[in-house]
Assembly symmetry: C2
Homo-oligomer: 380 residues x 2
C-alpha cells in the first residue's frame, strides 16, 4: 500500500454522498464504471481525483493518453451587444485581441484587485463568449454586474460539458477520431466538428502539461456515445479514464484556483500579471486597485519549492513556513513526485524569501519537527 493509498483510506477521506444538488455529468456513468476511487466537488459537480492511484495515474498520463470528465469546468455564456464590454470589465486581459476560434487564459479580478477566477475564455463570435471556469460562482457575479450596469447582454449557463483528452498520444487519438490531422488545431485554438453524431467544439487546451484537447459536448444525451467513440479510437494507444493529476499539475506549473490562489490574492502575487494588459483601453473593474499594487509593490509572491524527507501526503489546508526564525509564508499545494523523487510544492512567501535557493522550514501537519525546503525555478 503506497502512502497515497494510506492517505485516501484514512478517516480524513470519508465517503462522498451524492444528491441532485451535486449535478450529474453526462459522462459520470463511465467514470464510475472505469474505476474512479475518489472525487472532489467542483462547481457543484463531481470531479474524480484518482483512478488507480495518484502515482499510477501520473505515470500513465506521462506516457499514454487519458480521457477525463471535466464537465465541472462549467461554461458561462456571455452573448449580446454588450458581451465584449462585460467580459472586458471582468478582467485586466485585453479581450478585444482574442479572435473568433481562439481561447485565452484570463484572470478575472474584482474592484479590489482580488482574483475571482482564472478561466479560459473562448470567443465563439464577435458578441459571444464561453468562460470556462475554475471553482467559483462566476455566473452569478457576471449576472449581478450585467444587471447592475444595465448591460444589453445575456449571461447564462449553456448546455455544455467538456471532456478532455490528455497525454502525449492525444494528438494521435484525436486524428483517428476526427479522420483528419489534429495538428491543424493550433495551441489555444478551437474548431467545431461532429464526433459520434453530435456537434462538439474541440480546443487544443487542458489542465495538464502533457498536451491534448478539451471537447465541449452540447447534447448531454450524447455524452456516453462521445466518450465511447473516443475510447474506441484510444484502445490501441492504451487509453484510460483519468483526471487532473495532483503530481503532474504541480510539476507542470499549473496553479489551482482555491488552492494556490484565492480572492485574497492579486495577479502580481501569483505571477499572472504576464497574461494581462494593464491600462488596456476598455474599462475594467480592477484598474484602480491593480494600479495601486503596481505603485506599492507586493508583499508576497508565489514560488515553487522542494521539500525534503519522506513522501508527504497532500495537504488539507495551508501549512506555515518558517524562514530565518520568522513566519515565512504558507504551502498551498504539495505532492510527492515519484519521478523526481522529492516533494514538490507551491508556496506563497514574503518577497524577501523568493530567491532561488532560499531555505525554509515547513510545519507539516502532524509532524513535530520542521522539514527543510528550498526555492527552485521549476521542474521539467
Amino acid at each position: 500500500m503506497s502512502y497515497y493509498d494510506r492517505w485516501s483510506s484514512s478517516n480524513m477521506s470519508p465517503v462522498l454522498g451524492l444528491s441532485r444538488r451535486i449535478l450529474e455529468t453526462p459522462f459520470e456513468k463511465r467514470v464510475h464504471e472505469q474505476g474512479a476511487k475518489s472525487f472532489t466537488v467542483y462547481n457543484q459537480m463531481p470531479l474524480a481525483t484518482c483512478f488507480q492511484s495518484f502515482e499510477a495515474d501520473y505515470w500513465h498520463l506521462l506516457e499514454h493518453v487519458q480521457i477525463w470528465d471535466v464537465a465541472c469546468e462549467r461554461q458561462v455564456e456571455v452573448r449580446g451587444p454588450d458581451a465584449l464590454r462585460l467580459v472586458e470589465l471582468s478582467t485586466p486581459r485585453d479581450v478585444s485581441k482574442c479572435r473568433i476560434g481562439q481561447c485565452i487564459y484570463a484572470p478575472l479580478c474584482n474592484q479590489s484587485g482580488g482574483i475571482i477566477n482564472d478561466p479560459l475564455i473562448l470567443r465563439l463570435a464577435e458578441d459571444r463568449f464561453w468562460i470556462s471556469i475554475a471553482d467559483s460562482g462566476v455566473l452569478l457575479w457576471l449576472q449581478g454586474l450585467a444587471i447592475g450596469r444595465d448591460f444589453d447582454v445575456e449571461v447564462f449557463d449553456p448546455v455544455v460539458a467538456p471532456c478532455a483528452l490528455q497525454g502525449p498520444k492525444a494528438d494521435t487519438v484525436l486524428t483517428s477520431v476526427l479522420g483528419r490531422d489534429s495538428r491543424d488545431i493550433g495551441f489555444f485554438r478551437f474548431l467545431e466538428t461532429t464526433i459520434a453524431g453530435t456537434r462538439v467544439i474541440v480546443a487544443r487546451s487542458g489542465w495538464s502539461g502533457r498536451g491534448g484537447f478539451e471537447i465541449y459536448l452540447q447534447d448531454f444525451k450524447k455524452g456516453l456515445g462521445l466518450w465511447d467513440e473516443i475510447w474506441r479510437h484510444g484502445e490501441a494507444h492504451n487509453i484510460r479514464a483519468g483526471c487532473p493529476n495532483l503530481i503532474e499539475r504541480i510539476e507542470a506549473g499549473l496553479l489551482s484556483y482555491g488552492n494556490d490562489m484565492t480572492v485574497d490574492n492579486n495577479i502580481f502575487e501569483i505571477g499572472l500579471d504576464r497574461f494581462v494588459k494593464l491600462g488596456k483601453s476598455a474599462e475594467y473593474l480592477s484598474r484602480a486597485a491593480l494600479d495601486r499594487v503596481v505603485n506599492a509593490g507586493v508583499r508576497i509572491k508565489h514560488v515553487k519549492i522542494e521539500v525534503g524527507g519522506d513522501p508527504i501526503t497532500p495537504l488539507r489546508s495551508t501549512w506555515p513556513i518558517e524562514c530565518g526564525g520568522k513566519p515565512g509564508g504558507i504551502v498551498t499545494s504539495i505532492a510527492w513526485s515519484p519521478r523526481l523523487k522529492t516533494n514538490i510544492a507551491n508556496a506563497l512567501v514574503p518577497v524577501a524569501n523568493t530567491k532561488m535557493g532560499t531555505v525554509f522550514g515547513i510545519a507539516v501537519a502532524g509532524e513535530s519537527t520542521l522539514r527543510t525546503a528550498v526555492v527552485v525555478s521549476g521542474w521539467s
Copy 2:
C-alpha cells in the same frame, strides 16, 4: 446491513478527497473524531450527511439532541449606508420589517424571477445584515450587483461559522450552557453572548423540524472549545454529533435549494410566495418577472408524495413521474421513513396533478416497473 448502508457503500459513493479549496471548518476535527461516515460539499465546505446511519441519526434527532457543524451555511455580510437597499433589491420579501435581533427566511430572486438562494437573513444593525446562505454563490452575485449599481455598501464573507444544536432537548442543553433560560430567545430571534470565552450569536433557528439553535462562532481558533463546551453540557442529555438528516428534513417539510428547487423555479412553484410581499415599496429585481407569473399563473408546483413498496435509496438526480399515461413531473428528494414506514418525497408536478390523492407512477432509477405514489398533505 440496512439499505442505506448498502447504498453508501456502493460504487455511487466513492471517497471524498479534501484539499485547501474545500475550506476546513473550525469544527471539522470533532466531526471526524465523532464518526462522520459520509459528506457532501456545500458552499465549498464539507458538510456531514451521516454519522451512525441515516436511520439511527434520525431516531436520535427525534428523541435527544445533536450538535451539527454547519459552517457551510456561510455568511454574506452586507454593511453600509446602502445595505438595506441592496438586500431589498435581492428579494421580494419586505426586509424593512425585519428588526435588529430578528432573522427572516427570504428567497432571493433574480430579474427573471428565478430563485438564486433561500437564506435566513439576520439583521445585526440598521445598516448591517448577515445572509446565511444555502449552496450557491450569493457573495459574488451581491458583489456584482453592488458594484454594478455603484451602491455605497460593503459585501464580504465575514469570519463567521455556525454550528447548530438541534432536537427536543436543545432548549435544556442551551439553558445549561448559557446559565439562563434559553426560552427567552424567541423563534427566529437572536442574541449576542459569550460561550467558552468567545463571543457568539445564538439564534433560535436551524434546519430541522425538532427545534433548536444556531450558534455563530466568530473566532475560528475557539471552534473546538465552543463545540466541547456545548458537548460537556449535553452529555447528561445523550448529545451526539449529527447533521441535517435527509429523512427528518423531508418529513418536516424543509426544502433543499439545489434539490427541491433551482434557479429554474420561481417562488410560486415552490410555495415560497407566502414568505414575500409582492409590490413592497422598495425596489426589487424580480418585481416585473414575478408580476408576470402572478398574471399568467404557474404550470408546475411542489407537492409531497408517498411512494409505495420497499425502502428506496436516495436519488442521484431527478426521477420522472407519469400521471394518466403522460409525463407528470419529477421527484426531487426521497427517503424511507422508518417511523411512517413509507417512502416520503418531494416532487414538482403539473398544477393539474397537485390535488390530494392524485396517483402517480414513479420511474425509480434501476427499476423496470413504475412505483405507485400518491399526493399527500404532509407528515407530522
